[in-house]
């Protein structure tokens, strides 16, 4: 089954709805080790992206529009990270109105690479990379969407045991232990919405 521009429009609408629903929970998580605004950034970013993607001709145009819209609505850390993720996804999707379903896990790999490129984070530093990296590894190894999602989730779960060394929480030292990274948690939600549409 093909993944079409309409599917991507729907996916961003789902992402916007999901982030609105999770906003306060993500803010509360960010409040424990950061500045309590991650849910707001994700909601605003995905809402702007969802508004930008309808009626564009190609998946590439859509992801690029999403990147720009997300970035301009948000700034913060999430803005550049997800803008770069979407720009990489745009390149992977290419100037096509649809892509084969079987290729869609490559989008995860592209997004993970974009985030890694922009943020220079390594796995283990307690960032969203700890969800995106294992998801990308799973995608590269040909895993199914449920497997990709599980990889992201166990990565995000593991952040609770990590001491942050990047981002706002890095200054917390040992006090960051015991709390999951909000960016890793929202990453799982994103991947879950991809999986719902694509599996």
């Amino acid at each position: 089954m093909d993944f079409t521009t309409q599917d991507l429009t729907d996916l961003f609408a789902n992402l916007a709805g999901r982030m609105a629903a999770e906003r306060d929970a993500l803010c509360a998580l960010d409040g424990l080790i950061g500045d309590a605004d991650h849910g707001i950034a994700m909601e605003q970013g995905m809402q702007a992206a969802a508004a930008a993607v309808p009626n564009l001709a190609t998946l590439q145009d859509q992801f690029n529009a999403a990147a720009k819209a997300f970035l301009n609505a948000v700034g913060a850390s999430s803005g550049p990270l997800y803008a770069t993720a979407f720009m990489r996804a745009a390149k992977t999707a290419g100037p096509r109105a649809a892509m084969p379903g079987a290729e869609t896990p490559d989008l995860i790999t592209a997004m993970a690479e974009g985030i890694a490129h922009r943020g220079k984070a390594e796995p283990g530093q307690k960032t969203m990379i700890d969800a995106w990296h294992p998801a990308s590894e799973a995608a590269k190894s040909g895993a199914t969407w449920p497997e990709i999602l599980r990889a992201a989730q166990s990565g995000a779960d593991a952040t609770a045991q990590m001491q942050a060394s990047l981002g706002r929480a890095a200054r917390l030292g040992e006090r960051s232990l015991g709390h999951k990274d909000p960016g890793a948690v929202s990453a799982c939600m994103i991947i879950e919405e991809f999986a719902k549409v694509l599996s």
Partner: protein, 331 residues
Amino acid sequence: MLTQKLINDGNHAVDEMLRGVLAAHPKHLTLASPRAIVAKHGPRPGKVALVIGGGSGHEPTFLGFVGKGLADAAAVGNVFASPPPQPIVDAAMAVHGGAGVLFMYGNYAGDVMNFDMATELLEMEDIEARTVLTTDDIASSPDRSKRRGVAGNVFIFKVAGAAADLMLPLDEVARIAAHANARTYTMGVALSACSLPQTRRLNFDLPAGEMEIGMGIHGEPGIRRGPLKPANDVADEIIDAILAEMAAPKGANVAVLVNSLGSTPLMELYILYARVAERLAAADLTVHTALVGPYCTSMEMAGASITIMHLDEELAQLLDHPCDCAMFRVG
């Protein structure tokens, strides 16, 4: 239970605030684009453009420091969120005078990424932009390069703005800015949380009777929790930490800022200042400049920070150089 704020829609709080700022200060400020605030006087050909910025919620930082003799422009982010690259670029394009742009802002992952993207965009326009991060929060890391930028911004930006106003070249302005940052030390305590206008929920729990030592200006947890201490003990703990790092020789000049994080009133700040002055005198340090008030806030957070800048001849002169901003004046 929602916190009590005089706002309309939390999602529009920043834009409505900017509307009010522009309306109240038409002689000082104008817009380059909706989130790029520009000084009416100050920017001029041949002058290094100083562009500052960061998240909202710290007012009068950053936009209050835009004006002749200080920053030429500020890019304004959402509450506690770096501005995206576009308003940064807009601000820089509006004020650059052909002598390069100096970006100055607090050292936060988000700000670094957005300002770096803006720098790349400006390169494509053949505008050179350099960056000096502020890293004055000594509680945030033993390693200065990893520290957060907090209330010390006021002094550091002030000095860099004066250097630019004196038409020094970009290299010099950047050197002076870095020098100013290296000699500026801040530490704060929080006595209550604050809340974002969108959620109106306290961003952390702080039980009555406790304080958070080393609190960041976005409600990021500090070094540790402890019982709320008398003002003199708080001042002593901070001053001890700063003096130990600063290692200034007897007789040195300093600038001091006792800053409210928001709801801590002047009465408490001056009680702190009384102790700070005593301690500095005992250490044989001379106060060249003293600021007391809300200069770098976290909306309605209760608490205070103390900043000391270790002056030399150059820094003292630049601090005294006149500036005229909507929310800050010298000379």
